[in-house]
């Protein structure tokens, strides 16, 4: 038995388990059934509450906003399965809720999928931070657009631009101050030069990492010299900025409010102390940044743990932590699928035999299947789970409630496309039985035809014949007269169609044809025994008719032949009948 990762949180079920009754439970596809048993620890046994409680998880699956997400990501998922190249384009999924998911997702892109090497790694991390702390732009714009920017109360928040490494924009803001005061303009010019000359690594350029490192150290020394010379002592803000440029961790930490998160602190810290950070070294800084920022007593949030695992490049831990922290399998299923396509997940055999990606996608799809509407999306997910997808689909698809024919048709199309003939037969049988119960014989027949269910077609024909015997006439003539090739589905059905045709011919006074048909019905032996007497009775008036209706000798002749054959067959039938009744009597 494995260890439990988190303490499970207890859930109270109202009106259950009183009087120390034991509860029993049973797992369903997406819910849990809980009931009170008769067992009691103490006291006399008595009947418990007759209620059965349905406990359902995954409530966010019902949120309308998340439904949009599920539908859009379904399109992307299906598209991704079709891409066969090694390099996979990362699709960015638009998320209007759960900013944390976006944060984690972007970080995973940077670290795992783009897999930036030293040099570019910091640039990507800077982009990541800038993406998730966008209020800086708004504030800067507000300051610049105001009447006198230099007097603006948030003017010195320009530091946050520096913290994000946006030197050009910071210079732009600072120039407003510089133009104002002539006496300190030289100081501002100095700062401007420092900001301008900060080296930024260009991954596409010809400069190697070592060259960049050398340049950066020069610049760093220059900043340090300015600090030691007290060049900026006159202005405390500029002093703060130069301390940041030098990489003084305490000063950076003082800007907690502007940074607002420990991972921003991490990136800023790296920017000014170690811009050539290599991926394997990232996690040392991550851990220490988190500790410095959050303080010793603050317990880390689940999001922080996930980000830390990402910085440690421990993919499996990321997925595991996400599975625990997030309510729904959506995120981990899609993330894992994407990583799997980039061949970043080593095959990780689980106890159930399938690999991690398949397991998570199956879990997600099964969750979707319990939804009254989103089950159609789940089908595509099951299709792309090579090992267990089909079995899961076969088991689940028969449990969809079918209230209308249209829904049944859609489910059947899904089954037929995947050659699930057993499920097709079973669903058609359910629909046919329901139709039969409501006396819709045409519908019942149409379902039997779809399933090619000869046995059910026979059942329907028997029903028709029964009605005929009881009422003396056929119902649903529009169906019987137009059976077409469907007649051949079952012997009984063929007989029914032909028998109805016989009646029609008789009604149209086409006696010779009617007689021929009746003869063939009797000789072909597809007539059910119970109807032989009826057939014989039908033959009698034919024998009388011929004298009235025959016109030409030719017709008469053929008529006589037919009638003769009829009489012979009748004789045989009567003999058999006599034999039967004799044996019964004996």
């Amino acid at each position: 038995m494995e260890e439990v990762d988190v303490e499970p949180s207890p859930m109270l079920i109202p009106s259950a388990g009183f009087h120390q009754r034991h509860l029993g439970f049973e797992w369903g596809p997406g819910d849990l059934l809980v009931y009170e048993t008769n067992y009691k620890l103490q006291g006399p046994r008595s009947a418990g509450s007759p209620l059965v409680h349905v406990v359902r998880k995954d409530e966010d699956i019902c949120s309308p906003i998340l439904r949009k997400l599920f539908n859009e990501s379904h399109l992307i998922f299906v598209g991704l399965q079709k891409i066969k190249e090694d390099v996979v384009e990362v699709h960015s999924v638009e998320v209007s809720i759960l900013l944390a998911i976006e944060l984690i997702w972007n970080l995973c892109e940077v670290l795992f999928i783009d897999a930036a090497p030293a040099g570019s790694l910091l640039l990507h991390l800077l982009d990541w931070v800038r993406l998730h702390k966008s209020d800086v732009d708004a504030r800067a714009r507000e300051v610049l657009q105001s009447e006198s920017p230099a007097q603006h109360q948030s003017y010195w928040d320009v530091i946050s631009l520096v913290l994000q490494g946006r030197m050009d924009e910071a210079r732009q803001v600072l120039s407003k101050q510089a133009s104002l005061r002539a006496e300190s303009s030289s100081v501002f010019k100095r700062m401007d030069v420092l900001l301008q000359t900060m080296p930024i690594f260009n991954p596409t350029g010809t400069q190697t990492l070592t060259e960049f490192d050398v340049k950066w150290r020069h610049w760093h020394e220059e900043c340090d010299r300015c600090l030691q010379d007290n060049t900026f002592a006159s202005n405390r803000h500029l002093e703060t900025i130069v301390k940041i440029l030098v990489g003084d961790e305490d000063t950076i930490l003082e800007q907690k409010e502007l940074l607002s998160t420990w991972y921003h602190f991490l990136v800023t810290r790296l920017l000014f102390t170690h811009p050539t950070i290599k991926p394997p070294d990232l996690h040392y800084y991550a851990q220490s940044s988190m500790n410095m920022f959050l303080g010793p007593r603050a317990p880390p949030e689940p999001l922080d743990i996930i980000l830390l695992s990402a910085f440690e490049f421990d993919l499996h831990q990321v997925i595991k932590d996400c599975s625990i922290a997030l309510n729904n399998w959506w995120f981990v299923a899609h993330l894992t699928d994407l990583l799997d396509h980039c061949k970043l997940l080593q095959s990780h055999n689980l106890h159930f035999g399938s690999n991690l990606r398949e397991f998570l996608v199956l879990e997600y799809a099964s969750g979707l299947f319990t939804h009254h509407s989103l089950w159609q999306l789940a089908v595509d997910y099951f299709d792309h789970c090579p090992e267990f997808g089909r079995v899961y689909l076969e088991l689940q698809i028969e449990r969809i409630p079918l209230d209308t024919e249209r829904k049944a048709i859609k489910v059947l199309r899904i089954c037929e496309d995947r050659q699930m003939s057993e499920q097709v037969r079973s669903i058609c049988k359910i629909m046919a039985k329901r139709a039969l119960r409501n006396n819709r014989l045409g519908s019942a027949l149409s379902w039997s035809i779809r399933a090619k269910d000869a046995a059910f077609a026979t059942l329907i024909s028997e029903r028709f014949l029964q009605d005929y015997c009881n009422k003396g006439s056929f119902t649903d003539l529009d169906l019987l007269d137009n059976l077409g090739p469907a007649m051949l589905l079952s012997d009984r059905l063929t007989f029914l169609g032909k028998y109805r045709e016989f009646h029609r011919l008789y009604g149209e006074n086409r006696f010779s044809e009617a007689a021929k048909l009746l003869l063939s019905l009797m000789t072909a032996k597809i007539a059910p025994r119970g109807l032989w007497m009826t057939l014989l009775t039908d033959a009698l008036p034919l024998l009388e008719q011929k004298e009235v209706k025959t016109r030409t000798t030719h017709a008469l002749h053929s008529h006589f032949t037919v009638v003769k054959k009829l009489v012979e067959t009748m004789y045989i039938c009567l003999q058999n009948f006599k034999h039967l009744s004799c044996t019964i009597a004996v």
């Binding site: 539908n71 399109l75 509407s373 024919e405 409501n438 045409g442 137009n482 090739p485 469907a486």
Partner: protein, 373 residues
Amino acid sequence: MDPTAKYISQKISRTRWRPVPAGLLQQPEVFAAGSWDNESNRVSIWSLGDDDSDTDGEFDEEPRLLCDSEHDGDVTDLQFLDGDRLVSASSSGAVAILKLQPDCQALSLAHVWERAHRYSCDNAPCTAVVCRSPELVSVGEDGRVILYKADQTEVVRVIENADSSTIHAVTFLRTTEVLTVNSIGQLKMWDFRQQSDSPAQILSLTGDRVPLHCVDKHPNQQHIVATGGQDGMLCIWDVRQGNTPFSLIEAHSAEMWEVHFHPSNPNHLFTCSEDGSLLHWETTSGSDMSTLLQRGWNSRVVSHSGVPLAGEDDSVVSSWLAGDSSKNRLEATHMLPSQTLSVNSLDVLEQCLVCGTDGEAVYVHRQLPNFSI
């Protein structure tokens, strides 16, 4: 130009353009959508927003919701009776008239015929409804054909046991005639002037009894209808002429849910299907489209028997009925960018097309490509 997509968090069973007042050369802007398979279904009204000339012809705006109303049961069909009344058919067997307030502020229930379609001890879904103001006709899984008048509370006429199988769709042919299609592949014509409850005519394909799901009549020629069925075949019929359709086209690989002739330009036909595609069919005769328009419908057409039908005006024969395939070509274009889940419904009016899918998305084309009126 790609259509705009909008995800509306419910599976869409029907989309219909609100009719524009006749005479005004306006493009439709408001459409109704009905949902299905939800625990609580809704009929909703959407608007495409203003198309000002200063937007430089950019129709990027997504449809926005104006109002909606709860609907009991799946919305199985939706039709506009007129500019502000909407008829809905439900899977609970009810047929309802919904009233749209002026300025589309609210949608309210004006009248409902509960359990119009029913079994003796159960509900029977109503599958389709068609209107020609003030008359409505509905059909259902119980095989009944029911005639209503919009302002009368009682139904006008019920044809009991009109069909032993489910009737999937219905359309008006003439004022008193309707045509229904059922799940054993038959087209039945009903004349309400006749007292008897039997169809005036029955047509069906020889061969397999494939269920038919949709039917539409040619806007100008009442004897030409198009049907679509379970196997995705598009059939064009001449109802005056016996049992074989004029054209059999393999349109889709799965059930065809709706077929529509363009109301003002019937050379164009639209079909949508369970296989996730929406096709625009254009029939082009050998001659140029403009010369065709000049001469009216005088294109040279060979009818099936080679002899013009009795009482037929030679000049008024549709290019759909041409037996000679070399003279008439049928071109089909996919209207949706990629394969989606089933496209359940479409509607086309003037230059605009709207459709709804099981992927909970509505697609709107505001300028049909290759389309000239």
